[in-house]
């Protein structure tokens, strides 16, 4: 059994416009009677919105409660399908469903339910607020699930660390014909370089100095190329080892157009060695070297925008990504792998750190999502032909406070400091948007 595509509902984005219900009624009944829509949005007494819609359950109770074998889950699409020829209108399926996902349509004279419009749901297309989204992330599970996991089963990560997620996902995707470089930081700390003479990966892995990751990797790639072998040369490095200590070798390799895939796991500091600040640590953040006391109130400088700096190296591919947006991350990873066979590919992944940022271990992906939703992190990609464009533009950013308050490292912030961070975000967003806009304008004459 695989994973399936699904309709997601984000209640906080819904404005109750009912366009989804109109679209569904139109698609399924040919009329505009929203009472017959198979998706129902209800307004609460507080003015919020709730949803009744078939969830296409993995273990559907409506199917178990049908006495006439009229309902079945399609193993291929995951949709629960209803058979007119077999249904006896007993309504017992509606007893099985706790979501209001299958209900009697008085006009049709039988029960009706969502069939995902065969994989192209009309309701989602009609939703302008972004409350409804058709998630096709199942592709990742179905495609990647069968690929070999190239990391050892046991890792010495902190509880809730998403670096493990990144290591397993990226290596699976890149595949066994890879040489991996993991400079000092959390990745080797978690076991990539292994124990007792055995590596933690099923591909060759080496442990460069903090300073020379990109140059060593460039040499490895050149060697294999000369041997006539197409080997992916990938670095999994931290932000400190990339933005600060390892920057000159990185910059050199990028400038020379070395054919390597450099992935940064940006947890905003030297977390492995005791949570010291790095050039990527944001303003105001607590670290062990930017302490909080009567005098000091966290870091006093802004983080450098490393991925933007890499754009200026005119790399073959540069992108930012987040583990809360895996589909986007995978799309970028695929592009980055391909680009690394032509030149320098750089992928910057924002990676919340449960231990160093001080938040509950089960919240990692949620924190990563919040960072994007408030524009603290912007997701975009760049290549020399298309320029830069935003891959997940946030038109209505969530309040910054929701992100900052979730993290212990910002607990001490004054109103002034929060205002500073907000202005830094605004500047960053304006800068990236401007780059994206100018890239589009610059490209226009070429097509004219």
């Amino acid at each position: 059994m695989g994973a399936y595509d699904t309709i997601a509902f984000r209640a906080d984005k819904c404005d109750g416009c009912n366009a989804c219900m109109v679209a569904c009624a139109q698609a399924k009944t040919g009329g505009g009677d929203t009472a017959r829509s198979r998706i129902q949005v209800m307004e609460t007494d507080e003015g919020a919105f709730e949803l009744a819609l078939c969830r296409q359950c993995a273990d559907p109770k409506c199917v178990l409660e049908c006495p006439a074998a009229a309902l079945a889950k399609n193993a291929e699409t995951g949709t629960i399908e209803w058979s007119d020829a077999q249904c006896v209108d007993c309504l017992l399926c509606t007893v099985g469903c706790a979501y209001g996902g299958i209900a009697h349509d008085a006009v049709a004279g039988h029960v009706v339910k969502c069939d995902l419009c065969g994989g192209d749901p009309a309701c989602v297309k009609a939703c302008e607020s972004g409350a409804l989204e058709y998630l096709t992330t199942s592709r990742l599970y179905n495609e990647v699930g069968d690929l070999e996991d190239l990391f050892v089963p046991g890792l010495a990560g902190c509880q809730g660390c998403n670096t493990e997620l990144l290591m397993r996902h990226t290596l699976r995707r890149v595949g066994p014909d890879t040489v991996l470089a993991t400079p000092p930081g959390c990745v080797p700390g978690m076991g990539s370089v292994g124990y007792n003479g055995l590596t933690g990966t099923k591909v060759p892995v080496f442990h460069p100095l903090l300073t020379n990751t990109a140059s060593m990797l460039a040499g490895v790639r050149r060697y294999y190329k000369r041997q006539g072998r197409d080997v992916t040369c990938m670095a999994l490095a931290g932000d400190g080892g990339t933005a600060d200590v390892g920057f000159q070798s990185l910059s050199g390799a990028a400038e020379r157009g070395e054919e390597i895939l450099y992935i940064v796991i940006d947890n905003e500091g030297y977390m492995n060695t005791g949570m010291q600040r790095s050039g990527c640590t944001p303003y105001g953040a607590w670290t062990s070297t930017t302490p909080v006391g009567p005098e000091y109130r966290g870091k006093t400088q802004d983080a450098k925008n490393l991925p933007a700096i890499m754009v200026m190296h005119n790399c073959e591919y540069v992108a930012t990504a987040s583990t809360a947006f895996m589909e986007d991350l995978y799309r970028k990873l695929d592009k980055a792998i391909a680009a690394s066979k032509r030149g320098f590919a750089y992928l910057h992944v924002y990676s919340p750190c449960t231990t160093g940022w001080r938040f509950p271990s089960q919240m990692n992906i949620e924190i990563a999502r919040k960072a994007v939703e408030c524009n603290f992190v912007t997701l975009w990609e760049f290549d020399p032909a298309e320029g830069l464009h935003l891959t997940n533009p946030v038109d209505r950013p969530a309040p910054l406070a929701g992100y900052l308050e979730a993290l212990g490292k910002y607990r001490h912030l004054s109103g002034e400091q929060v205002a500073h961070i907000q202005s830094w975000i605004d500047r960053n967003v304006a800068f990236v948007t401007k780059l994206a806009g100018e890239a589009q304008r610059g490209a226009a004459p070429a097509h004219a």
Partner: protein, 416 residues
Amino acid sequence: MLQTHYLIAGASHAALAALHAIRLYDAERPTTVVSRDDSLPYSPTVLPYVVSGRSQPERVFLRSEAYFEEQKIKYLRGAGVSSIAPERNVARLESGEEVAYAKLLVATGARPAIPPVEGLGDVRYHVLRSLDDALKLRRALPGARRAVVLGGGLIGMHAAENLAKAGVEVTVVEMRPQVLPGYFDAEASALIERAFARKGVRIYTGSMAVRAAPAASGCTLTVSGRGALAADLLLVAAGVVPATGFLDGTGIETDRGVLVDECMRTNCENIWAAGDVAQAKGFYGSEKVLNGILPEAVEQGRVAGMAMAGDPALKGYPGGVPINTYTFFGRQALSVGADMAPGNGVEVVKRDGDDRYLKIVLRDGRLQGIFGIDVPFDPGIMWQLILRRTDVSAVKGRFVENPRETARVLMSRTWR
């Protein structure tokens, strides 16, 4: 002797739900299903539709041969259990063959109850519990002109409707003062009875068949207070009784059904029971009740399967809630939960008019039961609100006005 880890006696909803739960947790251990029917699994609930011709008998099967093959389940047809020896962990089939099990589920369902009517044994009558029964009744329909249905429960009322639609003159004889007792109150039942009367169906409530005698075509039935009724087709639909006869002398405790605990376990080690045959705890009180309805069969089967497989995700059975969905002449009657007399914290809200009916029973702000005719709501959501004892007092006005939408809001919020 056939050896199996899981032995499931019965092949309808409880048995299938148990199999499903077992295979979710334990994909490998040898599993055997023995069915007294010589067919693939089917639901007794579909039978009235087989009689009416709505369901084609070859398309009612709930599982295919391929399912049993894929799931590595041995499915034995025409193999009713005749006795059990719990001390040896062995079940004997009607064929005389013995099956050794590690864990046994008794999901043998129920048999038609035959009321003690004098002379009933001397006349030809139909019952409706097996596919064979349904096919026999279906074959008898074309020749029938006057039919009597003993019993105004779900099966009886369905059959009466089908007979009436086929142009047969039908009389329903119900012992109690109303039809569909236990699911609808007198007022709602009266509404349903009126709908039947308009279609020419006679309903004699508070009446008992006292004598049956053969007649030239069919039989003559004497009904208390109603005189003699001639019938060329007699259907006995006076309810069902758990099929527990084969358990006599085994030491398995029975009352009206097989007594089970919250995990559907009987008093005998390695033996569970679920579905119509079981007598499990009710939701509204401490005593164990019979609740022979499809949704509870599925629920009990699931609990039993998880318990048998040792699935640690098992939560105990919350207790049976009476639930019914009933469609008559294209109209919908829904009943979820218990009706209760007002007072003692119980509040009853009623709304009707224009032949629609809605009754909501609340106790201390919690839903106890909701009953409607042609008032749409989601029974599955109402069931959950009852089981979760969700406080609806804050939205009571809206709930009474629009139960479907309000309940959907409550559940959507709870699920998110």
